[in-house]
Symmetry: C3
Subunit: 352 residues, 3 copies
Amino acid sequence: MEFTINQVAALIGGQVKGNGDEKINMLAKIQEAKKGQIAFLSNPKYEPFIYTTQASAVIVKKDFQPKKEVQSTLILVDDPYVSFTALLEQYHQMITFQKVGVEQPSYISENAVVGSSVYRGAFSYIGNKVKIGNNVKIYPNAYIGDDVVIGDNTILYAGVKIYAGTRIGANCTVHSGAVIGSDGFGFAPQQDGTYKTIPQMGHVVLEDNVSIGANTVIDCATLMGDATTIRKGVKLDNLIQVAHNVEIGKNTVIAAQTGISGSSRIGENCIIGGQVGVAGHLKIANKTGIGAQAGILKSITEEGERILGSPAFDAKQYFQSYAVFKKLPELHSGLRDLEKKVDQLEGDKIDK
Amino acid sequence: MEFTINQVAALIGGQVKGNGDEKINMLAKIQEAKKGQIAFLSNPKYEPFIYTTQASAVIVKKDFQPKKEVQSTLILVDDPYVSFTALLEQYHQMITFQKVGVEQPSYISENAVVGSSVYRGAFSYIGNKVKIGNNVKIYPNAYIGDDVVIGDNTILYAGVKIYAGTRIGANCTVHSGAVIGSDGFGFAPQQDGTYKTIPQMGHVVLEDNVSIGANTVIDCATLMGDATTIRKGVKLDNLIQVAHNVEIGKNTVIAAQTGISGSSRIGENCIIGGQVGVAGHLKIANKTGIGAQAGILKSITEEGERILGSPAFDAKQYFQSYAVFKKLPELHSGLRDLEKKVDQLEGDKIDK
Amino acid sequence: MEFTINQVAALIGGQVKGNGDEKINMLAKIQEAKKGQIAFLSNPKYEPFIYTTQASAVIVKKDFQPKKEVQSTLILVDDPYVSFTALLEQYHQMITFQKVGVEQPSYISENAVVGSSVYRGAFSYIGNKVKIGNNVKIYPNAYIGDDVVIGDNTILYAGVKIYAGTRIGANCTVHSGAVIGSDGFGFAPQQDGTYKTIPQMGHVVLEDNVSIGANTVIDCATLMGDATTIRKGVKLDNLIQVAHNVEIGKNTVIAAQTGISGSSRIGENCIIGGQVGVAGHLKIANKTGIGAQAGILKSITEEGERILGSPAFDAKQYFQSYAVFKKLPELHSGLRDLEKKVDQLEGDKIDK
């Protein structure tokens, strides 16, 4: 994985100023880059580093005018940050897509169907009637239960557990330790104080372009044919709990350790902070913003609200109330003082 | 897995009205059911669907009087919901209990003892001197450390990790990624600011009929011979933390992402919401109800309390306080106004 | 693993009083110990048990004067608790260090380098160019991605997942289900409401003597060459979230279910409670104490502060404010009463 500066410049449509034959093998920050590495300069704040960096190449803006001598070869582009990010992505794909083929021992049922260019790591398990698309990467120790369907280009990292019947779209990423399709938490209280398990027979659907964080859990729906559904483009961080029959709308982003209780429906393009709790059977409008650690006890019907607190209400008002909360002891003694004064005034009145 | 309507009716003790020879192979909701499926009608709100459903059979109440023509065959029973649930359970067991036998490669130590009709999935690991009962299902990639004992009919889903010395009862379910018996969090501060690890040498006991959610963690007790103990019939949701030496009483139910700190003892038949934190060394009375996100800092001695907040107190009072909290800015300015008025009144008095 | 009482006494430098030839094979609490077990007496409260215990041996203080007859052999030492703890540790090491050698099947790449006395459990996976030190224990179903480096004496429990490029020091412990090096949660919003994945190309560094709890997740840094860094002696409990580019300072201890958002830097010797949330890009001073469930929204610049609440402020003040919060309904009606009285007084004034 080594390229000449000329090759890299061609890749990002840039113009080389200096020695284009030098080889680079890594991307780095301008303040830390060494020989053989490529960096970029976008923010003018970092300009001083271009005069001292040891980077073999630096991606700069077309119209960049050095104030001192620059040792590195320059690659001139329209937007250095965009070009650098494009390089990063190329590099990332090259690393990721190295993994192809089957490591042994691994397990695959006889009637599973697997597409082309698939990676199946050692100790990965593929159950009965599973259908796996092209370019799918299944890392070691991943488990895929019976009747699961997985779309093209999806990556399941090491130790992911996919329960039977789950449907996963294309271009999804599921990080290590995530569990998809475990039983919903459903128990019917009995007369004698015990609980009877309500069979959880539905499944989970992840649509395309969904990302699931490490050790996040998504429970299956209760009834057969029903699905806990994660819509296109949803991004879930680590250690999130998604209960049975929940639906999360398109392009909603949820930070780590948040929990969504059973049957709640989260709208599209919501941004939900970390450690938030959403109670069951609620409906959250599109574009709702929920602050970290909030507790949601009622549905949000209007789009674009920002809420906070437990139970949550308007975030701005929450901060105003909280500002007074911090002064409550003063406020309390202020009230006590006032009561004494008023008693005094009333006493005076009576005295007259 | 296909039955005639007559066979299903016999199974639930119902009476067939219509063609009992048709075959059904799936259960469904009345509003969605198709040919070959069976549904039920319990809630009168759903009655309209019985006149349009394509279900081959519908389970109805004995005294049901159709107002229009019904295409489906009817099965008359005392309580359609109960009968349908019974069918669900039967079906669920049939699916679950399909798994029997040993997939290869799997690992079992020479001196482990395994009962009859056990399923051992590929890449499952059974350590030294482990004892496993009858009808136990050990899914792929599950790990069972040395000296573990597991009772009859217990299910360990894929990727469960059971540390050495754990005792698990009969009819338990442990969902994927759960960790039972990891070291308690015990570190003794040293003079130089570092911490010394306190060896955690106890174990974990799960009694019968316990259910453990996905990615939940239960730490072992500190001292040898001691156990972190989860009593009969306890149901723990996903991503819960149970620290060392905790005891959770019979039939207590805990929702996702709650954490119980070391040595606390939770009573029987408690209902604990999600994301609750219980501090260490507390005792929570039987039948306590703890609202979501509450923080428990002191023991609850009276049975049947409902608490909320952090630190938690009576839930009803919490909501009352919180209602005022939301109005604190008004209250604050009300107080300021009043102070001015009283100053004015006092000034008037002095003026006289 | 059976020793005579004389052998145990020699090990802890104690003096035997009684039959030193009896064999013991387990440590136990004095109130529960049986024949063949050894207990200790430190707290005078427990003295009565020494006259009834069935323990074969009891470790006691040098100057202990029994008030009645004692059946057990005594081992006299300076500090019975310290001696007992030392024994515990010895015992614990003996158990832990039994595991050596390779169980099959396990997977190791051709170009991995493994030290001496290493345990590699069945179904463990060691990727390309991995370097593993001496006395390392890799339990079953653990996954170690490409280019990982692991120092001497480190233990990776069953089902741990270490992503490519992670560096782990010596004497570390990583508990089951922990994930080290998963992608940071980085997504760039696009014009059409979708999100584009920002490649996460950094890695994670765990320095020496770090302990990571079960199912805890540590994300990798965003940029190549950067690392999410856990400094020497840090102890993380279970189910903790550490986001990309975070740094946790030496000897800091964090309780379960806490989350640290991206790029925040936690100081040294901090003590952080459970279920705490720290927002992104903050700096927390050394020796900060953060109470359970707190939410940190701004940097802490002064060492040794104790904070609580969400958003968090001084813990003592939080409790004072919270005490008034609990009385808010009274306070509210007190204010209303006062308003009426003042209106009355003002009315009186006008009447005059």
